[in-house]
Amino acid sequence: MKGLRDFAKLNLITAFGTTVLANIAVAGFIGWLIDKYTFNNRVIFVISLFFGTISGIYNGVRELLKEAEKYEKFDKKDDNDNSGSHSS
């Protein structure tokens, strides 16, 4: 269980990168779509790319913090279990 979790921790490295990229891509796509059917001058597209970047970093960091908190909780629980089994 702990070994499996250690491997899953490696996922955090790519998780941040893909979250940022996916956010920019989704925001860019939405911006392009809105731009195409409204002013058609790329302004909304560029603004939404900015939104995407901010949203990517915000969501990426939020996800990282949440995962780190979760793993900390698990590690603490494992330590407690181990110390409990040693004492008994």
Binding site: A8, N11, N23, V26, N59, K70
Partner: protein
């Protein structure tokens, strides 16, 4: 290792080396070998285009799972080796879901979804490391060649359509669970937290989840398959492919299946928190 085994392995290696020397003469030149790289066999029925190889491999996956399910149908009180491996796997996952999902009402259903996704993705990834039937497509999607044991199976997860289907399914399920757990009003309010200005960020962040979820698996599996193909050609299929299939198929395949299903649990639990 006794003397008989040593002689057996030496004979196998000598035969392998001779086969390699012969194959060097008959391998196609580099342009010809890579001309089909990345092209798929595509069939269009009523404007709905799909890759039949993915469907065929999904059926193979179903048969493998059926075979495993039938072989452990009679559960014993004292488990044998096969039963204990499966029990350990299910137990580990259940524990993981129990630790992560905050609402106990959704633990069982989340476990069922995550476990199904894990089994499908894992067996699909494993298929990519075993030689089998290979369908070679061309630029216009036409099938040009069917090879038997000329390459590994094409993993269904190396096709973005499969991964996106699962990621979108998880996206819809996580929001349905959130509405059921918190109520529609509280779910709607969640989009405007911590501040109404953050609504566009939350919207983009949520929509980006299935994209990053599916692209991560697709990139790892499809990238691994292409790298294996290129490296294998460079050494003219001499010894290295075995190591590469082991690494990209078994190791990366298992890790990515685990990561994909852990993300399923994480996305569902994030909506329930």
């Amino acid at each position: 290792m006794n003397k008989r085994d040593k002689i057996f392995i030496s004979v196998i290696l000598i035969v392998y080396f001779v086969a390699w020397l012969i194959s060097l003469k008959y391998l196609p030149p580099i342009d010809e070998a890579f001309s089909t790289l990345g092209h798929r066999w595509v069939v269009s029925i009523g404007g709905f285009a799909f890759n039949p190889a993915t469907l065929i491999n999904a059926v193979i996956f179903f048969l493998i799972i059926l075979w495993i399910a039938l072989s452990v149908r009679d559960m014993k009180l004292v488990p044998d080796r096969k039963q204990s491996i499966i029990e350990w796997l299910f137990d580990t996952f259940y524990e993981m879901v129990e630790d992560t999902v905050p609402d106990p009402r959704f633990v069982r259903s989340t476990f069922v979804i995550a476990m199904t996704v894990f089994m499908f993705v894992w067996v699909s990834n494993m298929l990519g490391s075993f030689p089998g039937i290979v369908f070679t497509g061309w630029e216009n999607g036409k099938l040009t060649e069917i090879g038997l044991f000329t390459d590994t199976w094409q993993a269904p997860t190396a096709d973005l359509n499969t991964n996106l289907t699962y990621a979108l399914m998880v996206f819809v399920i996580s929001h349905a669970f959130a509405i059921k757990a918190k109520g529609f009003k509280a779910w709607l309010k969640g989009w405007f937290e911590p501040n109404p200005i953050m609504m566009p960020m939350n919207l983009i962040g949520e929509l980006a989840k299935p994209i990053s979820h599916s692209l991560r698996l697709f990139g790892n599996i499809a990238g691994g398959a292409i790298l294996t193909f290129i490296f294998s050609y460079m050494v003219k299929y001499f010894l290295l492919p075995v190591f590469l299939w082991g690494f990209f198929g078994l190791f990366v395949g298992t890790i990515q299946a685990l990561v994909f299903s852990i993300l399923v649990i994480a996305y569902i639990s994030a909506q329930l928190t």
